[in-house]
Symmetry: C2
Subunit: 150 residues, 2 copies
């Protein structure tokens, strides 16, 4: 999705949810679209300090509810945000470092994703769940942490 399309789509999703696409929200979408991995609130504010912290939290929640961004939760203490997959045309998963909490993106062959979806759908039906999506994280130690101490 190109930069212009991105904002059109984000605006449309917000409008559908009764929300405006304000300049603060546009800044958040821009920052996230410029990263190849999910960012913490602190990282977002470091990049664009004109946004107040309270506004960042509030607007990321609004953007999440509208399906524009996605909140990524890891075992460390910070939440991370990324653009929703529908806005990036890029279904992917996360490599999460068990030591420093860093998150990187990766993806898998499409055929495998399809089988995965089918298996998950079966399991969901058995349990009475209505499937909304899945989350597949690979947990390990990133190159930095391995270099740092074995």
């Amino acid at each position: 999705m190109t930069g212009a399309d991105l904002h059109v789509t984000a605006a449309a999703r917000l409008r559908a949810d009764g929300q405006r696409y304000t300049s603060n929200r546009k800044v958040l979408v821009e920052v996230l679209s410029g990263s190849d991995r999910p960012l913490t609130i602190h990282e977002i504010l470091d990049r664009r300090s004109e946004v107040a912290q309270s506004s960042a939290y509030r607007n990321l929640a609004v953007l999440e509810r509208a399906g524009v961004v996605h909140r990524v939760v890891t075992h460390d203490e910070f939440a991370r945000y990324e653009l929703a997959e529908e806005l990036t045309d890029h279904h992917h998963h996360h490599l999460v470092c068990s030591e420093c909490g860093a998150v990187a993106d990766f993806s898998m062959p499409e055929g495998f994703e399809e089988r995965l979806d089918a298996e998950l759908e079966k399991a969901a039906r058995r349990a009475g769940f209505a499937t909304e999506g899945h989350r597949l994280d690979l947990v390990g130690r990133c190159r930095n942490c391995r270099d740092a101490r074995g």
Copy 2:
């Protein structure tokens, strides 16, 4: 794994980590082994109120470090704990309700798990990650929440 084996294994893992298997820790393992889904700290304390909250947090951290329990993080505000898979002989994944945060267990055919592991190992190698494990959650809406409001 039977009840007795469970405690023997838990004690061994703690000993290997230089820790004792105290009565508080045994209570925590018992509570978790009696549940078919991960429990929050509050749920654990509700079941066995003789354990102080601070001790529960401290000991669950000790048990996690020793590989006896596993901390499950979802999008809601509470961490959840379950017995480590090696103590239950039961590799499984989680169904997470996007509305109330409830977590249930499910598992997938073994052959499929093997292919999944192989795919993940490939991705990890490409990114320079040392694989430790994976986390596969199905996100959806549980039966309760669907019944409650469509």
